[in-house]
């Protein structure tokens, strides 16, 4: 059961929102984002690297986030992503839409 939950697929579009949310807190590198999402969701949401990086590039391409190489506290070269102003607006908008959407799905599921 635990594994089933862990493998819960991310709904299309929700990954973008999760990434934006993570970056809204602080700039992070890719690994950090995936760990962050896993931690906050109590390991329910495992972000596949095969989805994460394409999503990062896609968001960067849209101009919602930007990236740059930086040195981590451990002295490792990492590529750090951070939210742009446009990205922040998109995040706010996305949050509202997600609440609308998830609320609607819940309403449907609650119906007997």
């Amino acid at each position: 059961m635990e594994r089933m939950r862990a493998r819960a697929d991310l709904l299309q579009g929700s990954l973008d929102l999760l990434i934006l949310k993570s970056l809204a807190l602080a700039p992070m590198h890719g690994w950090g984002i995936s760990k962050h999402i896993a931690q906050l969701s109590s390991d329910v949401l495992q972000v596949n690297q095969g989805s994460l990086y394409p999503a990062l590039y896609r968001l960067e391409d849209r101009g919602w986030i930007k990236s740059g190489w930086d040195r981590s506290p451990e002295g490792r070269d990492v590529k750090v992503y951070q939210l742009t102003a446009l990205g922040r607006r998109q995040f706010e908008e996305g949050k509202v839409q997600w609440r609308l959407f998830s609320g609607a799905v819940n309403d449907v599921l609650k119906a007997t």
Partner: protein, 922 residues
């Protein structure tokens, strides 16, 4: 919205920057992913996992690095450009890796493209080249409806005036009169000159102005002052491109004129003109008070060119002009009775000399296209073979998650680069060969605006052909290479791409196409060459190499009277008689039925409804005396010529007298009219009896001619709808003692050296009239005939070359495919040899394989060739029928060559040692 625009712009900038720093970005992605694995690994170690285990788990958790890299890349901006650049780099690497294949492919396809482009550039020039005037599509010619083959026919002054007054369809309308028979006598030596008299509106209509000097003033036009504008080429040849030419004086056809301007380079209106003078416009005769029957015939004839007004369609202009013609006719206001006026959008005569340069241009295009297809097949086969060898690589990439469409695109990009290189090579070669062709084919008589070369249309065509070629030779191998069945590969125990069978199959299919096409080309070329041999190899029936036959091209003004031209030739003959290189001179003229003094021969009976003055039309109104009607029409086409000749004619041309006598001093205007027939005509008119002494009526003129002699036949190649065949020419002759010459046509029998005699003619010419332009290029009749067959020769030769190249290419194709198949079967052959098969068995096995291909190709080729021959039969230059012998010999020759191409790989296969064969890893 603004933010999005900025974002989009930034995206482009990033994309372009990424493309420029291609390797950086590539490295970026993999570096980032490696960092990810390292971070994961470090986290695992922190959690207490051993270093090795941590590395393993981190890698497993991450998954296929390659696939992620690709997927990640797909999210990047302007991915297609990115991919494209990537593919180009990859392709270049691949092409560099096998320079032999690359060179062979580029050369083969380049040759094919060059052939097609060369032919197209000539067809293009001949059929699409626009005239060098502004908005040329609005220029129209207005002429006689009854003469559809020439652009400008001449109209009478009445018609011109009516058009000017009543038409509203045209912005401008001008008249001109072209004279191709003028002479420039000063400065320098006399030379023939084409001049055009133009009205004051012409320059504005054509939208041209002189490069130097000025156009004639209003006064000069009105009073037709003796001024002249000259062409750029005349200015260069006669005045050394000197600035002082403007203001200089010239004498043209006896009139002193002042040069007031030089036209820009390339300006020729009308086609052969080198000088332009003000036109004296004809005034319609006043016929207000004269009875209709005595109306003066208005001989003034002028050509009309007009520019359609904007917004007036061609059909509107046509309707209006036709109406004006009808009105004129109804009013009886035209000297031509019922004029039928027509508007033509074609303002040049489509030159027949162009079709001589390239008869059957569509056949030619098709042939070169077939060559290109054959070349593409070879390259496709090369690439197919390589595709099979590349299976391993491709399989690996598919297993790692590469998409098939992406791989196909990559392989096609590689082909496109081959194609581009071949295309460039092709265009360069085509440019060179067009130049070569133009210098080796006489362009005399081509209109000045025809300039051969490569223009944008040709370039566009070459690009199109290149794309066709790329898809042609690239698609099949690309599909083949990427057809990977992972399951099959896995179960085939480590033999990636063991299944080469589909690739071989498509290769073989392509070779069948190749053989079919080249066989068809081979047959068609053979037929053309045979036709040419047939035409030039004929025995003309006289020594044509010893006869020069020409026409006195003399100034139209000075020699306006035909009798003057005849006098000129008589004097020429007297001068030439003194020259040692000339044996004899004779005169000849088309017999037009107008006798010098017809009253001396009162016609016994006149055909009702026809007057004596009617001119005989060619091929009409002949008949033996004992039949009162003209001969039936089926006879007419065989009667090629009827001539008025001087006494010495038969001796000069060298045809023997078969029976009776030829003309002599005993034939006078008062004696019995006599005629001489060629044997062919005699046979035709009196198939059973001797024609001698029979009487013959010629035309409507009544008085019979008695046949006094039969002369030998002249044979000629005749091209008609039945094909090209050689036939005796039916000819009829009457004496100049009884009917007068109307033209200055002369024949010179030369002793030995043709060139010396030609020089003698030029000298005699000057002695007779020092002011006359020298005679045009003189040719012996044999040279003339050769020139007529030139088109056939050029076509046959070029097609033979194309066929030969295609033959060689298909042999290479057969060789390649059979070798490849044999190589694929190495293991099988090894087993067979090990089991006791002899070398001969193996040879036979491999050769049989190739033979099957050849036979399949030949049978398709047979059908194609028959089809083409049938099509060719519709053209003037054609072969008589499907010649079985040609087909059989061609297929025999083809089989022989093809078997050699099969034998070589077969022998190699049979010489294999079984041990080596079994060890071969394929």
């Amino acid at each position: 919205v603004r933010g999005q625009l900025i974002a989009r712009f930034k995206r482009w900038v990033r994309g372009i920057r990424a493309i420029i720093r291609q390797t950086d970005v590539e490295g970026d992605v993999s570096r980032e992913m490696k960092t990810h694995i390292e971070l994961e690994q470090a986290a695992l170690i922190r959690a207490g996992v051993s270093a090795d285990e941590a590395r393993r788990r981190a890698a497993v958790a991450f998954g296929g690095l390659t696939r992620f890299q690709q997927e990640a890349r797909e999210q990047r901006p302007l991915r297609w450009i990115d991919d494209f650049v990537h593919d180009v780099r990859y392709g270049l690497r691949q092409l560099r890796r096998s320079p032999g294949l690359t060179t062979a492919a580029i050369a083969t396809v380049g040759l094919g493209i060059a052939a097609v482009t060369t032919v197209f550039s000539i067809v293009n020039t001949a059929s699409f080249k626009p005239l060098p005037y502004r908005e040329v599509d609005r220029l129209v010619a207005i002429g006689d409806d009854g003469m559809p083959y020439i652009a400008f026919s001449e109209l009478s002054a009445d018609e011109v005036v009516a058009l000017r007054r009543r038409s509203h369809s045209f912005e401008r309308l001008s008249v001109f009169h072209e004279d191709r028979g003028a002479t420039l006598t000063r400065p320098g030596a006399p030379r023939a000159l084409g001049i055009t008299a133009i009205d004051s509106g012409m320059f504005a209509l054509l939208a041209v102005k002189p490069a130097r000097g000025r156009v004639p003033s209003v006064d000069e036009f009105r009073d037709a002052k003796p001024v002249v504008l000259i062409s750029d080429s005349l200015w260069r040849s006669r005045f050394g491109a000197s600035e002082s030419a403007v203001g200089a004086h010239v004498t043209i056809s006896g009139v002193d004129r002042t040069i007031i301007g030089v036209m820009p380079e390339g300006f020729r209106f009308y086609e052969r003109s080198d000088a332009w003078i003000p036109l004296v416009e004809a005034v319609p005769p006043d016929r207000s008070n004269a009875p209709p029957s005595t109306r003066e015939v208005d001989e003034a004839r002028q050509s009309v060119i007009a520019r359609r007004a904007p917004g007036v369609s061609m059909s509107e202009a046509r309707a209006e002009v036709a109406q004006i013609g009808r009105t004129l006719g109804a009013l009886g206001a035209s000297s031509r009775g019922r004029p039928r006026l027509a508007v033509r959008d074609q303002i040049v005569d489509r030159p027949t000399s162009l079709s001589r340069l390239l008869p059957l241009s569509s056949l030619f295009l098709a042939a070169t296209f077939a060559l290109l297809v054959i070349a593409c097949v070879n390259v496709a086969n090369l690439l197919l073979a390589r595709a099979v060898n590349r299976r391993g690589e491709v399989t690996l990439r598919v297993a790692l998650g590469a998409a098939r469409g992406r791989l196909i695109r990559q392989l096609l990009t590689e082909s496109a680069m081959l194609g581009l290189a071949a295309g460039i090579l092709g265009v360069v070669l085509a440019g060179a060969s067009v130049k070569l062709l133009i210098t080796h084919v006489p362009t005399y008589g081509f209109p000045s605006w025809v300039r051969f070369g490569i223009d944008w249309r040709v370039l566009g065509f070459a690009l199109f052909i290149m794309l066709v070629a790329v898809v042609g030779f690239g698609l099949a191998p690309a599909l083949e290479a990427t057809r990977v069945d992972l399951m099959a590969v896995v179960t085939a125990s480590g033999h990636p791409g063991i299944t080469a069978a589909p690739a071989i199959r498509s290769g073989r299919r392509l070779v069948v196409v190749q053989v079919a096409l080249s066989f068809a080309l081979f047959v068609v070329a053979t037929q053309l060459v045979q036709t040419y041999r047939h035409v030039v190899g004929i025995d003309a029936g006289y020594q044509s190499a010893r006869v020069i036959h020409s026409y006195a091209y003399l100034d139209h003004t000075k020699y306006a009277d035909p009798q003057k031209r005849v006098d000129f030739v008589r004097k020429l003959a007297r001068e030439l008689a003194k020259d040692p290189s000339v044996e004899a001179v004779a005169m000849r003229s088309w017999f037009r039925g107008d006798f010098a003094n017809p009253d001396e021969h009162p016609a016994p009976s006149r055909v009702a409804g026809r007057n004596r003055g009617d001119r005989l039309k060619d091929r009409e109104l002949f008949g033996p005396n004992d039949t009162t009607t003209a001969l039936d029409q089926s006879f007419a086409p065989n009667l090629s010529s009827h001539f008025v000749v001087s006494d010495g004619y038969f001796r000069v041309i060298g045809v023997p007298t078969v029976s009776g006598r030829t003309f002599d001093a005993s034939d006078t205007r008062r004696s019995q009219r006599v005629a001489v027939l060629s044997a062919a005509l005699g046979r035709r008119l009196w198939p059973t009896a001797s024609p001698l002494g029979k009487s013959l009526r010629i035309g409507v003129d009544g008085a019979p001619f008695i046949v006094i002699g039969i002369v030998g036949d002249i044979r000629k190649a005749i091209s008609d709808r039945n094909g090209t065949h050689v036939d005796d020419v039916a000819e009829l002759f009457v004496s100049e003692r009884q009917a007068s010459f109307t033209d200055g046509e002369y024949l010179v029998r030369i002793k030995t050296d043709a060139e010396q005699a030609k020089a003698a003619i030029a000298l005699a010419w000057m002695a007779v009239d020092p002011e006359a332009a020298p005679p045009p290029l003189l040719r012996t009749n044999a040279e003339e005939d050769g020139l007529l067959a030139l088109g056939l020769r050029v076509l046959g030769l070029a097609l033979a070359i194309i066929a030969l190249i295609s033959l060689v290419l298909s042999m290479i194709g057969i060789y390649g495919v059979v070798s490849y198949t044999a190589a694929r079967r190495t293991r099988e052959i090894g087993i067979r040899i090990a089991l006791g098969a002899t070398a001969r068995d193996i040879r036979r096995m491999i050769a049989r394989d190739g033979t099957r291909l050849i036979l399949a190709g030949l049978s398709v080729g047979f059908v194609v060739a028959i089809g083409i021959s049938k099509l060719m039969g519709r053209f003037a230059w054609s072969v008589s029928a499907v010649q079985l012998a040609t087909y059989l010999s061609a297929s025999g020759a083809f089989c022989a060559v093809a078997l050699v191409a099969c034998y070589l790989p077969a022998r190699r296969a049979s010489q294999m040692r079984p041990r080596d064969a079994l060890l071969t890893d394929l």
